[in-house]
């Protein structure tokens, strides 16, 4: 389930909804992104999140579909806010439900990594030193690349984080 909205959301209620009526769900994983209070030593008073409406929902739906093809999820939710937000405010929720906890964790982090590098949102920060558009971070692109390498290795869900971690340790 995808939502792009100006309003806040209720994390507990959204997670309850993921599991409701699905008795096979053994675990939920959730990520909540928040507005931080500092940016490069400056206090943030407010941020604005601009987005590309007609592309956003389509993009989020695609990534949710990919995650559900790649991991055995019973349900998932992605909610991303736009507009004016203050430090401490929730920006994004990604939730995944699965019989298998590791699938829930991996799929959730995959979606978050994807959002950070592909979802058409842009942050502008207001501080006492003025406003600036936040610059994309190379580390976010690198994070997503790891999942794509995993994909190139054959779309085998077991051949992902945990499998790779094991191989590297051997």
């Amino acid at each position: 389930m995808i939502r792009v909205q100006r309003e806040d959301f209720d994390v507990g209620a959204e997670l309850d909804r993921l599991a409701a009526g699905r008795g096979s769900v053994g675990g939920l994983c959730a990520f909540v992104g928040l507005v931080r209070d500092m940016s490069e030593q400056r206090a943030i008073s407010v941020i604005e999140l601009e987005h590309y409406p007609s592309m956003t929902e389509r993009a989020l739906e695609r990534i949710e579909t990919q995650a559900r093809a790649r991991w055995p999820l019973d349900a998932s939710v992605v909610i991303h806010r736009f507009g004016r937000l203050e430090p401490g405010d929730r920006i994004v929720l990604v939730g995944t439900a699965s019989a298998h906890r590791h699938a829930a964790f991996e799929a959730c982090e995959f979606i978050v990594d994807w959002l950070k590098t592909k979802a058409p949102f842009w942050k502008r920060e207001h501080t006492d030193a003025g406003t600036r558009w936040v610059e994309a971070r190379a580390s976010d692109t690198a994070a997503l690349a790891h999942w794509e390498q995993g994909e190139a290795a054959g779309h085998d869900p077991s051949n992902s984080t945990r499998g790779a971690r094991k191989k590297a340790a051997e």
């Binding site: 590309y52 007609s54 592309m55 389509r58 991303h80 590098t117 979802a119 842009w122 942050k123 936040v134």
Partner: protein
């Protein structure tokens, strides 16, 4: 064709939405970018460093080589910073 711009690209171009009718020789994104640059100093400023520009055609990520057709919606924006 419809052009849409976001974030600092929107500010530099001075354009949020634009409807343009380039000549038939403009048949890919690269051609469109060059045509916009020549036409308008705002676009020229926005497209100064193309390595900072991300492109979507009809709401899908695309490259400078993407072919264009009348009625397409072409979006220009910086690397995204949501999440």
């Amino acid at each position: 064709m419809k052009i849409v711009c976001f974030a600092w690209l929107r500010e530099k171009a001075g354009v949020s939405e634009d409807t343009v009718s380039p000549p038939d020789t403009v048949n890919d994104v690269r051609g469109l970018v060059e045509w916009l640059r020549a036409k308008d100093p705002g676009y020229a400023d926005a497209f100064e460093d193309l390595s900072l520009v991300r492109i979507a055609v009809n709401q899908e990520y695309a490259t400078l080589d993407a072919r264009l057709a009348p009625g397409d919606e072409i979006a220009f924006f910086p690397p995204v910073t949501g999440g």
